[in-house]
Symmetry: D5
Subunit: 152 residues, 10 copies
C-alpha cells in the first residue's frame, strides 16, 4: 500500500496493473526473459525497458502500449527512490552488511584481483530461496565485472 513517494509515473501504472492481474515478479520475469530482481527494479524506475519489454509488459499487464511507451521513454533517473541510510528494516540489513563488511570485501578483492573495483553497472544480481531444517534462507548473488584502475 505504501509506494515510495519519489517514483516515476510508470511505477504507479505498473504496480497497479500487477496487482489487478495478480501476477508475481517471477511470472513477469519469465515472460520478459529477464531476472525478477531486474523486473522489480524496472517497476521502481531503476532499470531500463527496451521495446520488447514494453510490448511484453503491455500484453501481460493489459496496459496500452503507447501509454507504457510514453511513461517508460527516456533513460532512468536512478537512485531517487531511497533515503540513505535506509529506514526500511529489510533494506537496512543490506546497508549494514556494506557498513560492517565493506573493508573486508575490499581487502579480499584487492588481494584476489589487484587495484580496482567490482562494477555495479556491468553487473547482475539474483535472489534464491533455500530451506533447511533451521528454516528459510535468502541467498543474494551479486556478480560484477572487475575493473582495474587505469594506470596513466
Amino acid at each position: 500500500s505504501s509506494l515510495a513517494p519519489r517514483l516515476p509515473s510508470s511505477s504507479v501504472t505498473l504496480f497497479d496493473a500487477k496487482k489487478e492481474k495478480n501476477l508475481t515478479f517471477e511470472a513477469i520475469a519469465k515472460k520478459l526473459g529477464r531476472d525478477e530482481v531486474a523486473v522489480a527494479a524496472l517497476f521502481y524506475g531503476q532499470a531500463m525497458a527496451n521495446a520488447e519489454d514494453i510490448k511484453n509488459l503491455s500484453d501481460l499487464l493489459g496496459i496500452p502500449a503507447d501509454k507504457l511507451e510514453s511513461q517508460l521513454a527516456g533513460h532512468p533517473d536512478r537512485g531517487r527512490t531511497m533515503d540513505m541510510p535506509p529506514k526500511e528494516p529489510l533494506i537496512y540489513r543490506l546497508y549494514e552488511i556494506v557498513q560492517n563488511y565493506g573493508y573486508a570485501y575490499k581487502a579480499v578483492l584487492n588481494e584476489k584481483f589487484g587495484d580496482g573495483i567490482m562494477s555495479a553497472i556491468s553487473f547482475s544480481t539474483n535472489v534464491k530461496k533455500e530451506t533447511d531444517d533451521k528454516g528459510d534462507w535468502v541467498v543474494i548473488t551479486l556478480r560484477g565485472k572487475w575493473l582495474p584502475f587505469t594506470r596513466f
Copy 2:
C-alpha cells in the same frame, strides 16, 4: 599503507604480522577453517575470534598468544571503520547496489518469503573469482536467515 584510523589496536598487530609473513587471507582462512571474508572482517575488528582462532593466528602469524588474546578480548564494537556514504570507490559500488536495488530486493523477497527481513547476523558471505573471455568477474554471495516479523 592507509589503514582506516578508527580500527582497534588488534588490527595494526594483525595487518603488520600478515605483511611481515607475506600471507594471504586465503591462506589464513584455510588455517583457521573460516572464510577469507570472515578473516578479513576479523582483522578489521568486525568479527569475533574464539580461543582456537587466537591460537591459530598466534601460530601462523608469530604473534605472542597473550598479546593477541588481550587485544582481541571482549566483543567487537562493530561498524566504526566506515564513514557512510563510503568514499572508497570499491565499497561505494556495494553501497550503490543497495541504493539502486534496495526496493527491488524488498519487493522480490516479500513476494517469495512474506513479511520479514534477511538477517545480517545469522548470515555468511563469500567472494569468488570467475573469468571468461570478457575478463574477470567478482561474485559475492550473501546468505542470511529469513526472519518473519512476529505477529503480536
Copy 3:
C-alpha cells in the same frame, strides 16, 4: 489533529474511523486478539494486517472490507513515519534512552548471551501503566530473540 505527513492512505482511513467510532486501541486490540502497540503500529503502517485483521477492522470500524483490503494490501514500507532524531518530546525520550544506555545494554547483553544481537523482527513489545504514591509510571517491555553472529 496533526498526523505525520508520510503515512500511507490506510492510516487516514483507520484513524478517521477510530475517531468516528470513538474506540481505543485497547478495544480494537481486544477484538483483533493483538497487542495495542501492534495495533497502533498497524495504524501507522508499521505492522502488517492479515486477512482476519482486515475483516475484524472492517466490522469494528465500519470500513468497507474491500477498501481496507486495497489500502492495506502488500507489505508495509516501514520506517518512513519518523524523522530521526525525533522532534516529538515523547518519542525523543525513547531515543535518548538508546543514546545514553546503548553501550550499557550491549555490554550486559554480550556478557549474558555472547556475541550477537536482540532481534527487532522476531520481537514483541507492550506498554503497561503502574500507579504508586509517587504518581503514574510507564512500563515498556521489549522482548526479542537473541541472534548469535554466525561463525563462518
Copy 4:
C-alpha cells in the same frame, strides 16, 4: 578490545580492572546494590557514582580510592559515547525499534495517560534472559515516570 574513543578516563580504569579481576557486571552490581545496566552505564560515563559506589568499586576492583574518586568526580557529561544513528548492530536494533514503533508508543501512551511523556530521568531499566524451545530471548524493561505537560 575496542572501547569507544570518547569515553572519560574513568572508563579505561574501570574496564581494565574489571578484565583483570575477571568480574561480571552482575557480580559488580550485586556488590554495589545496583542494577547491572546501571553499573555498565557507570562504566561508560553515563551514570553517576556516589561515595559508597566509589568505595565499593575500589574494594572490589582493587583501584586506589582516591584515583577513582578523582576520575569519577563531578557530574557525568552524558551522551558523548554514541554516534547516532548507531553503527553497532546490537544498538542499532534498539534505535530501529524507536524508529518503527515511536508513534505507536506515543499513540498508546497518550490514550492511556493523556498529554505528556515518559521520563528518561526518573527512570530505571533492566535486562533479563529467557529461554524456551525456540532459543534465548532478551527482555528489556523500561520504567519511567509519567510527566504530564503543565498547563500554563
Copy 5:
C-alpha cells in the same frame, strides 16, 4: 503572511480568525486564563487545548465549536514546525544562547541541584517587556521542575 508549512490545519483556522477579529495573544490569553506564550504555542500546534479552551476560542474567535473540536482533537504532534538550526533570526538567537551557555547552565545547575535535569514538560514560560533609558528589553522566564536521575 508566511506561516510555517508544516502546521496542523487548526493553525490556519486559528490564525485566520485571530487576524479577522484583530485580537492579540494577550487578549486571547486573558479570556482563556492561560499565558500568552502557551496560547501562541497552541496556535502553532505545540500545546494542547482542553474542552474549556475550545469553547472559549470558539466564542472569542467566532469559529464553530465542532470545527475547532475536530481540528484540535487528539494530542499534539510536537516539534514539526521548526527546522533546526533555526533560520529565523529571532529564534536563532534563542538557539545560540543554548549553544553558548549550555554547559554553563549545566555546571551551575549540577552544583545547585545535583545530578539531574530541568524538565521541559513540567514546565512553564512567559515573556515580559521592560523599558529603561537604553531602550526595550525582553525578559523570558523558563521555569521547570528539577528531576534528579533515579539511582537504580
Copy 6:
C-alpha cells in the same frame, strides 16, 4: 571527570584549580562581582575575562596571574564546546524548549515589540532555585535588548 574535548587550555587550568580549592561557582561569582552563569561560561571559554577578573581568579584559585593572563588573552572563540543537537540530557531540554516554543516566542515578541529580535549579545542570564511542596524548580531568566530591524 569528563570535560568537553574542545575547550581552550584555560578551561583545564580553571576547573582543576576550582576542584582543588573546592569552590563553588557561587563563591567565585561573589568574589568577581559577576553572575555565576557568567563565571561558568568564562570557565568554558564562552565569556571574556577582564584584567580585574584575572586578578581575582588568580587570587582566589591560586593560579599564577601570568599563566592565567596568557591562557585567557584574546577574545573567546565561542560556540565550539557544543555539538548540536546537544546529546547531554540537561542541555537537550533547553534545546527542546527552543524547538517547541520558538515560533510561539516569535509570535508573542513580534506582537509586543514589532519586527526585530531579542539580542543574545546585549544579554544577561541567571539561574535560581525555588522549592515548594512539589519539589525543586529551576528558574532561568533570559534578558536581552530588543533590536528592531533597521528600515533601509
Copy 7:
C-alpha cells in the same frame, strides 16, 4: 522563471506585477524611498513592508491595496528561502567569503572594537557598480551596529 519554492504568496504577486510593469528594483526603491536591496528582500519575504510601502507598491505595481495588505500582513518569517550551503553560484560566492575570511573579520573586528559582534539586525546594506579598464566590479557594503557582549 524559477522562483524559490518556499516563498510566501506575496512574492508571486509582487514578482508578477514587477514583470508585467517592466520595472526595476531601482525604480521601485526610488518610489519607496528605500534601498533596492531592501526592496528585493521585501519581494522575497525577508524584509517588512510598512503601510506606506504597501500603498506605494499598490500604486506603482497596480496591485489592489487590500490584496497586498493581506499578503504582506504580519511579521516576516525570515530565512526559509535559502538552503545552506547555497547551490546558486552567485550566492555561494558570498557564503565562500564568510567561510574563508570569517576568522579574519573576527580577528580584525575584535582588535578594533573589543569583544562583541556586528549586528545583522541594526544593519543596512547596498550594492554598487564600478567600471574600470579591467571590467565591471561589484561593491557590496555591509553596515551594522557594533554590539559589545554585556558583562554580567
Copy 8:
C-alpha cells in the same frame, strides 16, 4: 587563547609572535603594504604570502626567515578553519546576512549586471569603524569582479 584547531603550523608561529611583540593587524598591514583583513587571513592560512611578505613578517615579528618560509611555503589549503554553519556569534551574523539577503543580492546584481557572479577570488575586502551618536558601526566592504557566464 582559543585558536581554531585546524590551522596550519604557521598560524601558531605567527599568532604567538604577534602577541609577544604586542602588534596589531593594522600595524603589520602597514608594514606589509596590505590590508589588515588580508593580513589576518594570512595568519589563519587563508591568504598567500609572497617573498616580500615573508621578509617583512620575519623582520617585524622576529621570526627566523627560513622557519617562516618553510611554514608558509606552498599554496594555502583554504576553507578548513571553519565549521559551517559558524558557531562563533560574530561570524554567524555574516552567515545570516547571506542566508537572509542572498536572493536579494542576486536579484539586484542580475538586474544591474546580467547573468553572472561576483568573484570571490578577483576580490578584496576591508573593514572600517564609524562612530556616531548612536554608537559604533562596522562597515565591511566587499569588492569583486563581475564575471558573466560564458555563452557556449
Copy 9:
C-alpha cells in the same frame, strides 16, 4: 520518464516538445549555434537563453514564442536540480572524480598557474565520443579561465 522534480516550468515545456519533435540535443545545438551540453543545461534551467535562442527554440520545437519567453524570462536560479552527493550513478562518477582527484588537480594547477582557481563561470565544456577496439570512450573537456587570487 523521470524528470527531476525541482525543475522550472520551462523544462517540462522544452523536454515535451523535444520528445514530440524527436530531436536530439545535437540537432538543437546546431540550430542554436551552441554546444549540446549548454543546450541540455538550458533545458534543465542551468543556463540562460537569449532572445535569439528563444526564437530558435520556438521555431524548431514548435512552441509559441511568448510562452517560451515568459517561462525562460529572468536569470536562472542554478543548482536546485541536484541533490549532493548525487544518487544517479552516471553523475556520481563525476562527483567521485572530484572527490578522488580534487587535491591532485589543485596541486598541479597551483604548480602550473600559481595561487588561484579555474573559473566555473568564465567556462565552457563539451562531450565527445571516441571508439577504439576496447569499446567506446567518453571524453569530457572542461575549459575555464584561470583567476589568480587578488593580492590586497
Copy 10:
C-alpha cells in the same frame, strides 16, 4: 604548508622530499612515465605505485626504497582526503560544475551512448594550460570508458 590531515604516511614522506629536491610534478611525471595528475594523486594516496614507480621515486627523491615500499605497500584507501562539499575554493569549482551540469552531461551522454555511465576507474585525466589575449585558461580532460548497464 597545510597538508590535509587525513593523508597516509607516504604523503608526508613524498611531499617533504619533493620540496627538499625542489621538483615539480611535471618533472617527476616525466621520470615515471606517468601523467602529472596521476603523480599528484599518488602523492595524496589516491593512486597506486607499482614496483617501477617506487624505484623511480626512490632514485629521484632520494628516499630509501624500502621505506617507500613499506609506506606505499598495499592498495590505496581512496577518498579519505576530502570533505564534501569541498571547502577549498579551487576544488569547489569542480564540484560546482558537477552540481550545475550533472544532468546536462547525463542527458547528452545517454543520447550519444545509451543507458550507462562513464567509468571513473577505467579512466584517465590530464590538465593543460592555454594562453590567449584574455589571459590563461585551464583545460581539464576527463576520459573514461563507457559502461552500458547490463541487461539481466
